[in-house]
Symmetry: D2
Subunit: 370 residues, 4 copies
């Protein structure tokens, strides 16, 4: 029986181990067996590795991946968009499957809060057959109902995985807090989500975009993706200095929209300070529970704010991400260039530690590489 190698998280904080699992037989109806060609390492994976979220162990991580279809089960003939799907097609897929029937999926049209949602690379125990439910592996078996997308030839996997789930996350947020054309935008943070939020704001018709973050190479990426003004938080080191710098760029009342992509809870208070009265404040970086802040709710009423949360993304946001990259060669080139480190599967743990160090740009695993 053929074996498939995977990098497995067996204990939180311990090195990933390479394990072998039996290759599944013929896919059942609607399933697809995909040879993973590139698996991005998301910041969330570092949190998972550290045990900061409750996931089953052992676990094959990897929720932003691209690969080639090896086998398709009965009835699987089209991708999510309705385009024909064939063996050997290069594809990506939405990391989560929603049930379509629960209170949130059906009654509230809010599938990111589906009551039984499961995500590849996060929610599956690698001990349970068919084992292969994460991207850090030579192959992944996609469940029936997975939103699979054929990747257009013009969009290299580097561009798509370089953008990663940060791009789809930012697109979802942009939908929840739509820009009015010409709105000034502050993006707090220049990690993957912040960079993606800049690109999305630019594509969605923003006026002046200010990014606060660092270090300098990330600020350079921010400029390349559309920021008009970048503020290095290492230099403008206190809140008041940052506020002054932001207001100089967006005007004396603050920005029309502030998008928090930092993750430190305190960024929320600073973001509200940067937002004009009646503006939108998007809390997009607080994916992990990083604790409480001292917060004054009077500000919400007096500044007449809209504070908007956004969680994950839906298949149609993947569709939009692909279309955006298809239309915009500059973004393709920028996101692809954001990948600075590539590792074969055998060195997956090394890849994870590189991502953890924040020393480079995007880090990816190439499971088919020798």
């Amino acid at each position: 029986m053929k074996q498939v190698r995977a990098a497995v998280l067996e204990a939180f904080g311990k090195p990933l181990e390479i394990r072998e699992y039996p290759q599944p037989g013929e896919p059942a109806a609607g399933e697809a067996l995909v040879a993973v060609e590139m698996a991005g390492i998301c910041g969330t994976d570092v949190h998972l590795w550290l045990g900061q979220l409750a996931i089953p162990l052992p676990n094959i991580m990897g929720h932003e991946s691209a690969g080639r279809i090896e086998k398709m089960g009965a009835g699987l003939t089209k991708d999510w968009r309705g385009d024909e799907l064939r063996v050997d097609d290069r594809v990506t897929w939405a990391s989560s499957i929603s049930c379509g029937e629960c209170f949130y999926c059906r009654m509230k049209k809010q599938p990111t809060r589906c009551l039984t949602r499961k995500a590849y690379g996060i929610s599956y125990c690698a001990s349970d057959a068919p084992h292969l439910r994460g991207g850090y592996a030579e192959k992944i078996l996609l469940r029936a109902g997975t939103a699979i997308f054929r990747i257009p030839d013009s969009v290299p996997s580097e561009a798509l995985i370089g953008a990663g789930c940060a791009l789809t996350t930012a697109i979802h947020a942009s939908e929840r807090a739509p820009l009015e054309w010409g709105d000034s935008v502050v993006v707090q943070g220049t990690g993957p989500v912040g960079l993606a939020a800049i690109a999305v704001a630019r594509a969605a018709g923003a006026g002046t975009i200010v990014a606060t973050g660092g270090p300098p190479h990330r600020l350079e990426l921010a400029r390349g993706l559309g920021a008009d003004v970048v503020i290095d938080i290492a230099k403008a080191g206190d809140v008041e200095a940052r506020r002054a710098a932001v207001f100089q760029a967006v005007g004396p009342y603050g920005a029309d929209q502030v998008i928090e992509c930092v993750g430190y809870p305190e960024a929320v208070n600073e973001g509200i300070l940067l937002c004009r009265d009646g503006g939108h404040f998007v809390v997009l970086g607080q994916y992990a529970d990083a604790g409480n802040i001292s917060f004054n709710p009077h500000t919400i009423t007096r500044k007449q704010l809209r504070v908007v949360g956004s969680w994950g993304f839906e298949p149609r946001h993947v569709d939009r991400a692909i279309r955006l990259l298809e239309r915009d060669g500059h973004l393709r080139e920028r996101f692809a260039a954001g990948i600075t480190h590539r590792y074969p599967l055998a060195r997956a743990d090394e890849a994870l530690q590189m991502a953890r160090s924040l020393a480079g740009g995007k880090t990816v695993i190439l499971p088919q590489a020798k």
Copy 2:
């Protein structure tokens, strides 16, 4: 020279004093001299009296009033709606005047955050001529540009002032956080704003409405205005008990919309708990800065919430309040019945202390009463 009597706040926390001011001569262009017939005492007036907001002293309070036009300056021929205006007409007016030209008025269409907004009964120093800029007085001189509304004969002043600025405030909030038809609503608090929010939610197509508050006579008012379920916070004394009671009424995931009308900062954390994922949480009660809370911003992201602030109201919300009362006899009767205490101007301080005690319902001053 004729004199006009007014109840004046001369020092924070001290009894209101009755003072006399010279009656203004002929109104200038656009101005109106109005004989105040009824002036509501708003909870905000108690905060003003206590010195919790920065206002000039001496001050003639009173920002929710009705009266009869005595004199009109040149060019004032129509009310805000365009209906003819005549001496002796019974009128009310928007408490604030926005400039129409500043960044917030013009560029952002958000006049409640006008940079130079002034409000009758709040922002004017009674020492400065023409002195009469508040409702706790026999007469008030309305500035040119004031949004004056002729009150339809079918709407008694008792109904309008019984509803007070709480109704216009709730209408503005409802506009900022529109209900989807049939949405379940929790209103936290059964003070004037909470009661008005119930009435507005009912009129705007809400499904199940739950009110949490007290004491019992206020819960009875809440029922009369449209609450399907009322929860006495004195009985369901802890957060978990209230949550359970609310969820029993609105379903196991929380309410589609929660409207905080309490004013205690901690109510914000409870409100978020009561709101379903992806729901609207309206922070409407935090008008005064009552301090900070320990708050977890991760909740905003994970629950994918919309947290909405709303500040004051615009003239068109007064228009809607009047039309609502015009259409709905039941609401007229309910709001009028909410007035439990009436005082002549000479006993204005007594009226204020009654309002402060929260012992009754709405308290009003009748400046023309002997």
Copy 3:
């Protein structure tokens, strides 16, 4: 083998015939066999009977029905809302099934325009097994994926079928052209859709509602469902007279929203005339292609209108209809009272002719009655 009787349309314009079909065996997974207790005759059925829409023959019509579950296939344990479903439950169901995967269902979230939509009582050929796909029959076999709703005990079938698919249609339209609170509304036409549109506008927070239609007994129903002013088109016989009467009720510029529920193409030109500049005009009655009108598109630009079409409804509109009836006893009573004629299945053709004559109110078939 047990036989099931049904009233069958075998040739357009010919009397319905009573035919027998073999009762299906055990329902397959997800299917339900339902004993039909009440089937409403919709105006569309008359159009179908006349051959004005392309449907397969023979055909068991009936797309607004209620009944009791006799048998459920494997896996069918909950209704659309997630409430437990049992044999003998009284239920109704959405008449159409959308595919969930086509361009309109998936990409555009517009399942009423699903490319492969099929409707009970309309799209199925009665010659094809399992035959029983319409409401004019003792039993109907619901396909897997049908949106089934358990009817709350407080909602009699008379209220639900009395409202019929007109109510769900009007709810969908109201979602597409949301009222601003207090908006004036003109409903053109007092057939089932017009009456339902009145009820929905009232429940959704409309201000003045004017209905134009007839005859007098329908205008009385219009009043009962929420119209403030009714205009008998037989009396106000020309367009100008109707315009004058409408403007007297809603003001000199026209209504904020006009909802066309007539079906005659010319009603569209009149509706535009009744609508204020910048208002919403909802074209809801043009379900059949009743030909062209002479139309001036300059009006759209100059009046700065929003003209909105709405087609059919989705399962969640059925959910809202049921909840509305659950909340509002007055509407339950009004819609139930709208049923004026009841026929056993054997007299289905007679029922259809009664509906065609427009002489009464709602006509229903009671397939279990002797």
Copy 4:
């Protein structure tokens, strides 16, 4: 007394005449005397000249102009945005003044339908003092309340007038029918409004943009402003051929949004054909009443369309137009390059005939040129 020269329309269809008017004395409060440097000739001016709209004669046309402030009346110290305004500043201004108080201005927030709106270059009789109310003149006297905008140094008048009122008109339309990010757009017509609509759609986040129009040099402009695909109506000469070409670009169901910028009434029927079910169809070109079409309203219901009219623009759309040009050097260059013909005031009639001929691009008058 100083004299000011103007080109005057004295009789419909007759050559413009150069007349002299006395230069106004000191501007009254809020007024501004402006030396016109560039006045665009809008297609509407040709309609006015032909007598197709009711305007007073004699008339100084010209409603899209830029110039330098010569004198300012008391109290005029800031432009519409609140930026300081000084003599010699280069400015433009909104062509219309709305009253701010009528039903449409105040109650419906729809000032483009103001009941007493007056537009420079259109609504004023040149015989009435102060005469100078149009752009085809050496000077114009702006009324108090005019929305004046200082033009940023980076925006040449050529770019602004090259874009003309078509740009502000397209921005208003885009606000009324907002694109969802990535929507496919068809723009019917490549006259000034069509070209501007392309630029706005591109800036607002459109996906594929298709323009149908001609002649070839205008299709080239369309490409330069953002059209991905251009269809020459002279080549794709019948409706079906155009439909096929459009669908090839946007997919087999039609475009998400179609913007009619043609003016021929029949374009409306073609536009509806090009629009997918549930899409937006914007009727933007029907400014003049060009007669009726044979139209089938069933299409609105069945295709579940949104048909949106948009009339003129508000001051804030001028603000957005300036900001767009300020941000986007490519658009500045494109719009400036669209000006192909320049005439001194003395040859204003020649300029108008050139515009009428449609032979070139944008035609402008330079009133200060010798």
